[in-house]
Structures are given as structure tokens and as C-alpha cells.
Symmetry: C2
């Protein structure tokens, strides 16, 4: 059994468990009360805030605990936008932010606010110049993650923070994926984190608002957490969150080096072991434990299921693994292949043997899924056929449209075209991505009687 | 040491502790994931939902878990109001709701909505007829607590629910104080609860929205908890919350009888042991474990401090114990004395000896506080004085204005008046309450050069 999905939720760190148990007896009372049980709870809460602030690199009175990272982001975005309402209603986010940021941005847009999504390179990184270009007179807030949750790419936060600072615009950093590894560098204004991503318990997020940042909490509030996070404090979990953040930080440097080497093995060896694979994300500026790749002609859901049967828990940004049947917005923004997508995110402590076993199991698993789907095997023979060909993949889901395309590409002569009819959202991303991987020319798409027609020209 | 503030937060029930520990190992993964750790988490979440729904008396798919009771109320009020936006923007609440309901109502009013606060009787109970009278064509939602958190008075929820149902208006019940004791009877539409009030862990609330109720979640959402409570589920705590709700329910009938007898002792004996005390709240229709009384000529904060030193943890609705220096809105709405207020709320399992010891300690503690404040002692002698008298209590906080009034009332003849000048918010409530307790006539108030003048006529 190997759990390789730490980017979703890390198993509870032993220190978190210990702190949680200890504070169940000491930390259940209302920290706002003046009797002994309340004072004891208040001491625990204050100490947790001090510890978390020290780890983040902020003042204790700048940090509040929220019920989750998602709630921290929602409260942070809404409060910062409202605080600068007079400046304007323009919000900047990167195209690869976590859904919590994008959902907050959607609400802002629905409410009449303006939104700019900054695109990313094929590595998943934003260009600081693109943030600079997006800044306007009426920009109230900019958001940028410290590192991407799906591909591990680190963002140039310090550079973007400087640009924002120069323009007088606060930058909110979603640091959920990186906070366990270290402080977020640079002159950011707001920061959000999530304890269960660093081995803390669920039920705890944190929101930092630097002194001097205009902030107006939205929605009903109360007197708790500086009026920024209403509701009774989740105290034993808060204590465990703070304690585990200190603990993982103490181990971070050594563990980062170790995991980086393990993910480097996967990055290097998967393309050699499995044909038709695209490893995505920045090869150098990345989180230590995350590596993501996509496999042509593979149904992501089936692959995840087979890997689970083989004892590996991973996640995927393929459309078939999402409830909406749309591929990951991150992979989409990067313009990379989305079919057969696998994200491996190693929790601290992952033994090298587990990674080696994964590399042993993966090739056969992918091959079996491909065989079941009738994926093409390169034959090298060119069949005689007409100059143009239509593949009707209507009603078929990812990866079938690409498989059908690959099967017939050799049936047209060089210079001939294949027209793939598809009504699957993933085809829009994966047919161009296939062309890029295969060195074929992607001509473009056009509306068809049903679905969309994707035009591919054989170039070799 | 006796903790008598269960209405703020109950100590963790042993079953909650046990369930929390067990699910720390099984319930940390993302229940939305399909691999084994995710499936295991999903099973735990589903089972907890079934158990909680059974205890509440609803369908599992009507119940979502939120990060706290406060968040459940906020989400429930906002979602129900938005769901019936087309009907109108009128909201009804009782004047004695929990602050979470009142804060949600404030936000609604600030946003342009209409609000009716239904008053309560001196017992703290609403009159169903007053709800019926408040219902309008454009009423989108009505809210009523199942029982009051400060005085324990049970509300006529079933009757009000019927009236609302007949008018086609959904009723949201804040059941935070009563859910551990039993289901909320009646045909309500929405319900909110809070685990740490019944001995569950902090970090868990629940929101029930009956099928057929129009509901539009507000703010950014995600795919979790039916789109009604965004953010990673606080799973181990949810499991513990559901398990402990079942456990406290199993013990509820016997424990309710036992605690009711103990609070009855306090209700009956405090007025006999301590002079000038008003026991507040409905003597019969009330929660088993809560009893509240106010002591004339006593500073609430000092009294709490002295009781804490004597080993008793209680809370108070006196103005001096609130950060805003205003008395509890509940006591205010009831029109009862707010000075020297003490709420005793017994956690299940409180031994009779602890209550007896409290009754032993209380009289001396109150007497000492009164002596320190120079409170009047009834002398029975009538001093000769003019027909009218002015007491300048400007700049003096509760309970000083009432103490000064009581000191001089015998200095005016029967029929003469005392004019008390005060700028303390509590005086507005406590001077009329003192008149009622003392059988003197409260004439009324008028603006003074500084503060307010309260007129009292000596009648005996």
C-alpha cells in the first residue's frame, strides 16, 4: 500500500496526533470566557497563534485561524476586495489557481466585479511581466499561489509581490501546497494556508493579513478571531496544526532533498518506461514531492482504478475523473495533454522502495489499459488511402477520440487531413496535445452539425 | 472544581473522544477520492451523516456538516433568504436569538432586507400569535431557536412552525442548545446545530434543509457537502460529533430528569439564600440544565471572578462581563434585571454535591461583593428629606447607579421622586427592574444634559 496523494491530504503527522490528544482535555472550553477552563483554552490558542505566525513569518496579531484553507481563501479574497472597494473592483488571478480562489473570483465577477486571468507557460508558471501588464488603476487585489497543486510548479511570488507593491496593490498568496516546506518569500500582503496539507488535522486553515492592508471582513461576523472567522474556535485541532507545522518545518530541508530525488526518478524514468507519455510541470522550479504526467490513449479513471488495485493511491486531472467530465483547468491552461493524467504527490517519509515499486508496476498497468481500449501500436506501414478522412467519435469519451485519430492517421497520405468529430470536452485539449507529441500539424477546430470538428494534417 | 457553563461548551463526551481517536487513522484522506483511503473516508462520512440525520429526524441527504453551529446558521439564513428572493426580502427573528442569527439578520438588513424582531414575554418565550402577526406577503424566512441559550426557556417551535407552514414561509430552527436532549418537534424547514454543545468536538456544526425548501447557497462554493459547506471536510471530528450525539441521546431521558431536579434546587433555594435576587426564565418550559438569576447591587464580573476563585465556572449576561459593556440582549428583551447576572448550565454528569456546594458558597460570595460595593442594607428607618432628590451616577458603571438609587430612596417621602442621572447602558434596564422588584414606581426616562435621567417615585 502506498499513498501518493499528499497534495490532496497528508496523513496526520505524529506530532499533530499527540498535540490533538493532549489538548482534547485542556482545550475544549470557550477561550473567550474568564474562568479557569476558558483561560486555559485562551493560553493554548495564543500559543498556537504565536507558533503558526513564527512559521509563516508574520506577527501573531496578523494571523487568524479559519475552518479550512478554502475558507481562508474565501474570507481573504472577499475581505481584501471589500477593503479596497473605493479603489476599484478589478481582481487578478492566475489561470492555474486552486478552485477555492477561482470560485471566489467567480462570485466577484457575478457580483459585477472585473476579473483578469493571467495565463501560464507550458510549465505552469506565470510570467511576472504578465502580472505587471494585468495591473490597472482599479485593481483591488491580485492572487497568486506559491506553488501549483496539480503539477508542483513554483510561482515567482517574490517578483510578482514586488510588482504589486510598486503599484500599491495587495497580493494574496495561496500557500496551501508550500507552507510545510518553508516560508513564502517576498513582500506579499495576504496569505492563506491549510493544515491538512502539511500533516496537520482537517478543520484548520489560516489567514494572514499584514498590518496596513485594508481589509473589511464580509458576511456575518462575531468577536472571534479578530472578526475575520466567525464561530467557536476548533481549538484542539488548531493546537495540533501549529505543533505539526513546527515539526514538519524541522524536518523540511532533509525531507525535501530526499523527495526531490525520488520525484526526479519518476520524471526521468517514466518516459523511458512508458511510451507516449508527457511529463508536465517545471522540471526545476517545483515542489519536492509532486510529479505529474499524462499518458496518451489512456482512460484516467481506469488507470487510477488499476493503480489502486496494485496498491497505489494517486490522483488525476483527466476529465473522466472529475464529476463534471471536464479536464483539470490547470492542465488546460498549460496546454498539455490531459488524458491518462496521473499526479504523484509523495508524503514526507515515503520510502524509496515504494517509488521503485511504482515504477515497476506502472508500465504494465498503462499497457493493459491501452490494450483494453484498443489503442494503436506503431506499425510503421503506410496504408494507401484517400487524401482526407473523417473519424466520427461523437458520444465517445476521452481517450477514445484521440485513440481513433491515432489509428487512422497512417491511412491518409502525408499532407492529407483527418477530421475528428467529437463532443467530448477533453478532445479540445488532447487532440492538439497529441499533434504536438506526434509532430503532426493541428489545423484547428470548427463547429460541426453535432459537436466540434478537429482538423489534423499528417506531416510525417 | 465545578464547570457550570455547558451552554457555552460541554466537555468532550467519552464516546466523542473514542470516535475521534479511531477515525484519526481512518478518516484523514479526501472522501472525494476513489482510492482506498478516500473510499474509507467516504464510508465514515456517510455513516456519520446517517447517524446524525437519524438523531435529528431527517433524511441523510438533507443534512450537511459545517465548521460550526455559527456557520450553519449563517449559511442557512443566507441560503434560505436567497432561495426565496423572488417572494420578498422580509426576515423574522425572535429578539432572543443567538448572536449568530442576529448577525446574519444584521447583514440582511444592511443589504437592504427588511427585518422584524418578535418580542418575548418576561419568561423569555415568544408568543406564537406574535409570529403570526409578523408574517407578511413578502416574508422569505422566519427563525426561532428551540430553546434559549442564556435562560433555558423553550420556545413554542411546533406552533410557530405550523403558522409558518400555513403561510408558506420556511422556519429555520437554531437547535444548538436542545439537540443533545432530543429531536425538535414540529414541521420546521431548516435546522442548525453545534456539536460542542452536546459534548461533541469543536469544529462541527450541522445544517438541515428539508427537501422542497428553496435554497440557494451564497458565497463561493465547491462540490463538497452538496455545495452548501465549502472546504475539506473535518472528518474525524464529524465522526466524533455523530457518535457522541447518539451517545448523549441514549442517556438524555435519565440525565434530563436528574439535571432538572438539580436546577430546580437552585431555582427554589437561591432566592431564599440570597436577598434581592431575580430568577429569570420560564420555570416549567425550560431546558433541564440551565438556570439563570440576577443579583441586585452586584457587579457581574466581580461575582464571576469570586465564584471562579471558589471553584465554580459560570457565565453572565451582565454588561460588565461583555466586551461592549452592554448587557445581554436576551435579558434586555425579557425586561429583567441584568446586574449581577449568573447563568448556571450543568453538564451531564454533574454530581448533586457540586450543586449543593455552589448553594453553600453563593450567599457569602454575593454578600462579600455587595459589601465591597457599599450596597444598601435595608434599615427600615425613614429619613426626613425633601420631596425630590437627584442622584448623580454619571460615569459610574453597573451596579453603582442602582446601588445609589437604593441608598437614597428612603430619603424621600412616599410620593416623592428620585432622579438618577446615568450614562451607563445597563441602568436603562436595571432601574425599571429594581422598581419592579422593590414595588416602587418607575416613572420613565428623559434625556439629561449628560446621559439620561431615570425617574423613580417612592410608593412605599
Amino acid at each position: 500500500m502506498a499513498y501518493f496523494d499528499a497534495a490532496s491530504a497528508a496523513p496526520l503527522h505524529p506530532v499533530a496526533r499527540q498535540a490533538l490528544l493532549a489538548s482534547l482535555d485542556e482545550g475544549w472550553a470557550d477561550p473567550a470566557r474568564l474562568y479557569r477552563e476558558g483561560r486555559r483554552a485562551r493560553l493554548l490558542l495564543d500559543a498556537a497563534r504565536e507558533a503558526a505566525a513564527e512559521a509563516v513569518g508574520c506577527r501573531a496579531d496578523e494571523l487568524v485561524f479559519t475552518p479550512s484553507g478554502t475558507r481562508a481563501v474565501h474570507a481573504g479574497v472577499a475581505g481584501a476586495l471589500a477593503g479596497r472597494r473605493r479603489v476599484g473592483r478589478h481582481l487578478i488571478v492566475s489561470a492555474v489557481e486552486h478552485s477555492s480562489v477561482l470560485h471566489a473570483a467567480e462570485v466577484h465577477e457575478t457580483g459585477g466585479g472585473a476579473l483578469t486571468q493571467v495565463p501560464v507557460a507550458r510549465t505552469g508558471a506565470v510570467d511576472p511581466a504578465a502580472y505587471a501588464a494585468a495591473l490597472r488603476e482599479d485593481t483591488a487585489l491580485a492572487c497568486l499561489q506559491s506553488a501549483n497543486h496539480e503539477v508542483g510548479t513554483e510561482q515567482p511570488v517574490a517578483e510578482v509581490a514586488d510588482l504589486c507593491r510598486a503599484a500599491g496593490v495587495p497580493l494574496l498568496v495561496d500557500a496551501a501546497q508550500s507552507l510545510g516546506w518553508g516560508r513564502v518569500e517576498g513582500d506579499w500582503s495576504l496569505l492563506a494556508g491549510s493544515a491538512h496539507k502539511w500533516g496537520g488535522p482537517s478543520g484548520v486553515g489560516l489567514l494572514v493579513v499584514r498590518k496596513g492592508v485594508r481589509f473589511a471582513p464580509q458576511g456575518p461576523g462575531d468577536e472571534r478571531e479578530s472578526g475575520r472567522a466567525p464561530g467557536f474556535e476548533n481549538l484542539p485541532a488548531i493546537v495540533a496544526a501549529a505543533a505539526s507545522l513546527r515539526a514538519v518545518r524541522a524536518e523540511a530541508a532533509a525531507e525535501a532533498a530526499r523527495l526531490r530525488e525520488l520525484t526526479e526518478r519518476i520524471r526521468a524514468r517514466v518516459p523511458a518506461l512508458v511510451p507516449d507519455v508527457e511529463v508536465v510541470g517545471d522540471p526545476a522550479r517545483r515542489l519536492p514531492g509532486i510529479v505529474t504526467f499524462s499518458c496518451l490513449y489512456v482512460d484516467g479513471e481506469t488507470l487510477l482504478h488499476e493503480l489502486d488495485r496494485a496498491g497505489f493511491s494517486v490522483s488525476s486531472g483527466s476529465s473522466c475523473t472529475s464529476s463534471t467530465l471536464t479536464p483539470s483547468h490547470v492542465l488546460k491552461a498549460m496546454g498539455v495533454l490531459t488524458e491518462g493524467n496521473v499526479r504523484v504527490s509523495l508524503p514526507p517519509g515515503t520510502p524509496a522502495e515504494a517509488v521503485e515499486r511504482f515504477l515497476e508496476v506502472l508500465p504494465g498497468t498503462v499497457a493493459a489499459v491501452r490494450e483494453r481500449l484498443g489503442a494503436p501500436v506503431a506499425t510503421g506501414t503506410v496504408r494507401a488511402a484517400g487524401p482526407d478522412l473523417v473519424v466520427d467519435a461523437l458520444g465517445r469519451r476521452c481517450p477514445i477520440p484521440v485513440i481513433e485519430l491515432a489509428k487512422v492517421i497512417d491511412d491518409v497520405p502525408v499532407g492529407g487531413t483527418v477530421r475528428v468529430l467529437s463532443d467530448d470536452e477533453a478532445a479540445r485539449l488532447d487532440i492538439p496535445a497529441w499533434c504536438e507529441m506526434r509532430g503532426q500539424e493541428y489545423v484547428g477546430e470548427e463547429p460541426a452539425e453535432r459537436g466540434t470538428a478537429y482538423l489534423v494534417r499528417r506531416t510525417g
